[in-house]
């Protein structure tokens, strides 16, 4: 089904639908996740083919993408993820990030690490790291330092706390700057949180009970409407000891 892109915004589309652009406008169009470029035989002008079912979104001036729900993470360069160290082999750690392949993390990619001064990372530790290499053809590689050599919040995630998994869209919503769930929750129970783009979230609050409460709220808020969320927060704030 071919739709002009301007009309398709906020509409549900299936894989295989085409978003057409008028050939007259010479503007460049940025093709986001869920869309692929496609040549267009009969109609003149270029078109984007939808490859994931979901809702089309648009951001001025020319970015189009498809919002779709996914549980399985696919590594992408520059994204921050929480990984679990599964093996130490020679100079690198093998880290499970939830994708189709394990990523590799060099022991030199930590702040202040040298060949003599190795970082204190054991098998089973959680690391918060960034992808430097992540494409479909190569093994993904992680680092725990930024381009200036500083750790910038990355590295081994401290002792205790709870790691749990949510869908990718919930993790992205929590990372948005105006997330009111985080603000409201922080007012009720102070907590430390690390959110990975691979859907993994690590939480640590003052007591184990608070940690579990925060984890439960974050896991379930994705399925609630705004009304239900307000009710949950009201109930929680009444019960704060």
């Amino acid at each position: 089904m071919a739709l002009p892109a301007a009309e398709a915004v906020s509409q549900a589309v299936l894989a295989g639908d085409l978003l057409t652009f008028p050939s007259s406008s010479g503007e460049k169009v940025l093709c986001g996740p869920g869309l692929r470029r496609q040549g267009h035989g009969q109609l003149s002008g270029h078109a984007l083919a939808v490859c994931k079912s979901g809702v089309v979104r648009h951001k001025e001036p020319s970015v189009y993408w498809v919002d779709s729900q996914q549980k399985r993470y696919v590594p992408a360069k520059g994204e921050y993820v929480i990984g679990i160290v599964t093996a130490k082999s020679g100079d690198i750690f093998k880290v499970d990030v939830g994708g189709s392949e394990q990523a590799s993390l060099s022991y030199l990619a930590f702040e202040g690490a040298t060949k003599r001064n190795r970082p204190n990372v054991q098998v089973g530790d959680l690391v918060f790291a960034q992808f430097v290499v992540a494409n479909k053809d190569m093994e993904p590689e992680l680092v725990c330092i930024d381009s200036c050599g500083r750790s910038n919040g990355m590295g081994v995630i401290g002792p205790d706390g709870l790691l749990f998994k949510v869908s990718l869209s919930i993790a992205r919503k929590l990372l948005s700057p105006n997330c009111d769930v985080m603000k409201n929750l922080g007012e009720l129970y102070p907590f430390e949180i690390v959110i990975g783009m691979n859907g993994r979230i690590w939480v640590k609050a003052r007591t184990i009970k608070h940690t579990l409460l925060v984890a439960n709220v974050l896991e379930s808020f994705g399925n609630m409407t705004t009304e239900q969320r307000k009710q949950v927060f009201k109930k929680l704030s009444d019960n704060v000891p």
Partner: protein, 221 residues
């Protein structure tokens, strides 16, 4: 969520589906056509054994579990049909050296099992967010002893039919992706069946569209 199909033999039986009902797979769906129900689960793109990996594409596996007993040759042949359809529509080149697994469990079989499996598999693939060239659906029709063509047969209609034909149809150009037929029929009858099934496929695609828009309207808040 439910959607109605009309009653009557020239039309499809009422169908409905449920998304994301299992917590462990990356995508899951339960598709019901009349009384035939199939539960599908999709895992992928996930790790693959080195012996099975393909360097430029994802490895696709389909498993069909019958309601009772162990899977046998009939299930194997249905698995291959479903696998060929999925191979044609999933963009496996985007995930080389990984595996995509589709597991189908027959909950109840009262006719048109292969097309219900295809529909369940497609819905689960959409739920898992795997990149696809188009969506597909399965439609079964029978030619009975009077030469009449009837869609979406029940088990009784299948037993009494002269021929049973199942087609899987893609959504972009309504082309045939797979056909599996049993019985004897003429060339004209085959072409009539294909035309009827292509028309019936429109309803199923509209149902997919409605279920996707319902699913995402809830998320938008």
């Amino acid at each position: 969520m439910e959607a109605a199909g009309a009653e009557g033999q020239q039309q499809l039986r009422p169908f409905c589906c449920e998304h994301n009902l299992l917590s462990r797979p990356d995508g899951s769906a339960c598709f019901t056509q009349g009384d035939t129900t199939v539960l599908a689960a999709v895992y992928g793109p996930a790790e693959v054994k080195v012996s099975k990996e393909i360097f430029d594409k994802a490895t696709l596996d389909v498993f069909l579990k019958p309601k009772v007993g162990l899977p046998s040759v009939i299930e194997k042949s249905k698995e291959q049909m479903i696998r060929n359809t999925c191979e044609a529509t999933i963009l496996t080149a985007l995930h080389p050296r990984s595996s995509i697994t589709i597991v189908l469990q027959v909950i109840h079989d009262s006719g048109s099992l292969l097309s219900c499996c295809l529909n369940a598999a497609c819905t689960a693939l959409m739920d898992a967010g795997l990149p696809m060239r188009s969506v597909f659906c399965g439609v079964t029709c029978v030619i009975d002893s009077d030469g009449e063509i009837l869609l979406d047969p029940t088990t009784k209609m299948e037993k009494e039919a002269a021929a049973i034909l199942t087609f899987s149809i893609d959504s972009t150009e309504k082309q045939l992706l797979m056909s599996s037929t049993k019985g004897s029929y003429s060339v004209e009858e085959l072409q009539q069946c294909v035309a009827m099934c292509q028309k019936a496929a429109e309803k199923i695609f509209q149902f997919y569209r409605d279920s996707v828009s319902r699913k995402y309207s809830k998320q938008s808040e």
